[in-house]
Symmetry: C2
Subunit: 254 residues, 2 copies
C-alpha cells in the first residue's frame, strides 16, 4: 500500500505548504510529477483537498481533516464528558483550561477553554507537549507505572528554558512529589511565560490517557493560587475519570 502512504504524505505536505502546485510537491516528496498529479486528483475526488481556483492550479486542504481530527480524543466520549467539567473549572479559576491526550511519547492538546483575562496563553489545538516540560505531561508521567516513566526518561530530556528539568533524578523526585501532592505543576519549563497545574485522567485499566490543566501566565502565578488551582484541577480530573467508568483512586496523579 505504498500508494496510500504516498497519498497521505502528499496530503500532509499540501497542508504545510498550501497553496502549492504539483511540481513543488513532487520535488518535496521526491516523487515523479505525474504520480503526484494523479494523487492530487484522487485526494480532490475524495474531498480532502481542493484547487484554489486560479491558474496555475494551487492546492489547499479542505476541512475534511478537521472533521476527522475532532474525534481524536483517544477514548470514546472523552470530550463530551470533559467539557462540562472544564467549563466549571474555568468558571471557578477564570483561567485557560486545556484538555490533552497522550499519544506516543507525547501529550497532545485537543480542547481548550479560554480565560476572559487580557493576558492569556493561546496554544493551537493539536499542539504537541513534551512529557517532562509541561504540567499535562508530568501529570500523565506521574500516573504511569514507573517503568513507563523510566522508558521515557531514557530517551533524554530536552531543554526548552532555563527551568526545564533535564536531570533524570530531579524528574523522578518531581514525579514523586506530584503523586504525593495530587497535581503536577509547570513554572515556565517549556515557555518562560507559561505556568500551569494539571492532573491526569485515568481509564478503566488504571492507566492515564489524558490530562486536564489550568494554564496561567507566569506573571499571574502567585504562590497562593497554586494549591488552590491544584485542588480544583485534581477534583475535575477525578470527576472525569469517574464519569468514564472508574473511580479515580489514590491521589490526583496515581
Amino acid at each position: 500500500m505504498q500508494n496510500v502512504v504516498n497519498a497521505l504524505r502528499a496530503l500532509e505536505e499540501v497542508a504545510v505548504r498550501q497553496p502549492v502546485g504539483v511540481a513543488d510537491l513532487a520535488r518535496a516528496l521526491e516523487l515523479p510529477k505525474s504520480s503526484v498529479q494523479r494523487t492530487l486528483v484522487t485526494l480532490h475526488g475524495a474531498g480532502w483537498i481542493r484547487p484554489a481556483g486560479g491558474t496555475p492550479t494551487r492546492w489547499l486542504v479542505t476541512t475534511k481533516a478537521l472533521h476527522v481530527g475532532r474525534h481524536a480524543t483517544g477514548e470514546l466520549g472523552l470530550r463530551d464528558v470533559a467539557l462540562p467539567v472544564m467549563e466549571e473549572l474555568r468558571r471557578s479559576t477564570d483561567e485557560t483550561i486545556h484538555l490533552a491526550v497522550r499519544e506516543g511519547g507525547n501529550v497532545v492538546l485537543v480542547e481548550r477553554l479560554e480565560t476572559s483575562q487580557p493576558v492569556r496563553i493561546i496554544l493551537p489545538l493539536g499542539q504537541n507537549l513534551s512529557m517532562h516540560a509541561s504540567a499535562n505531561g508530568k501529570a500523565v508521567l506521574a500516573a504511569d507505572p514507573p517503568e513507563a516513566a523510566e522508558r521515557y526518561i531514557a530517551e533524554g530530556l530536552r531543554s526548552f528554558t532555563g527551568t526545564t528539568i533535564t536531570d533524570p533524578q530531579k524528574l523522578r523526585e518531581e514525579l514523586e512529589e506530584t503523586r504525593a501532592r495530587g497535581y503536577a505543576t509547570n513554572s515556565g519549563e517549556w515557555r518562560a511565560d507559561v505556568s500551569a497545574v494539571a492532573c491526569a485522567v485515568v481509564g478503566e485499566s488504571g492507566l492515564p490517557f489524558a490530562s486536564i490543566s489550568v494554564n496561567v501566565p507566569t506573571s499571574r502565578m502567585t504562590p497562593g493560587v497554586l494549591p488552590e488551582f491544584g485542588a480544583l484541577v485534581n477534583a475535575a480530573a477525578k470527576r472525569v475519570s469517574a464519569a468514564l467508568g472508574r473511580a479515580h483512586e489514590g491521589g490526583g496523579a496515581r
Copy 2:
C-alpha cells in the same frame, strides 16, 4: 487510485465509529475483511490511526488529522491574521467570536474565541453552517456576485427553525439589506437560541472566502446591541481583509 479512496473512507469511518474492529469496519465499508485489515495496518504505519492496546484490537484515530486540519483555513495565514483581530473583538463585545471559511456550498467554522459569560454558544470546530441560515453564511452570500447567490438559492433553502428564510425573494431582499447595512444578521434562524452578526472577509480577487461573526444567545440579543456589534464586526472584517493584501471596499459585505 481506488485504493487511496478506500483508505480515506476507512479513516473517516474509524473516526466516527472508534473504537472499532476490523470486522465491523469491513461491514460498514462493504469491503472484504482482509482488504480492510491491510488498509488499517497501512494507516497505522502512516501514523493516522492506532490500536487501542487491549485485545481484541480496536482502532482509534490519532491527532494526525488535527495537525493537518489546522491548516484548513483556505488562505495562507488567515488564522494568524484573524486571531488578534478576533481577540480585540471579543474584548469589546465579550461575546463568542467565530471565524468561518467558505467551502463548497457551505461555510465551515475553523476558529473560535469564547465569551466568559455563563450562557454561551459552543459549536465544535469543523461545524458546517448553511449559507442562508447563519450570519456567517449570509455575509459571504451577500458579498458574492449575484449569480453565485442565485445558484445557491436554486438548490433550495432548507428550513431549520420557524424563522429560517426559505423564500428566495425574501432572501434576496435580506442580502440587499445586508449589503446596505454592512453586516449580516441571524436571529434564531438555524437554532432558536443562537443569534449573530457577521461580516465577510474578501480576498484580492474581491470574492469573499471567510467570515467573522459575533455570536450571542438570543436571550441576550437586545435591539440596541445589534448595530453596535454590527459596526464592530464590520470593522474587524475590513481589517483582516486589508491585512491580507487588499483594501476592503464598499460596505461591510461587498
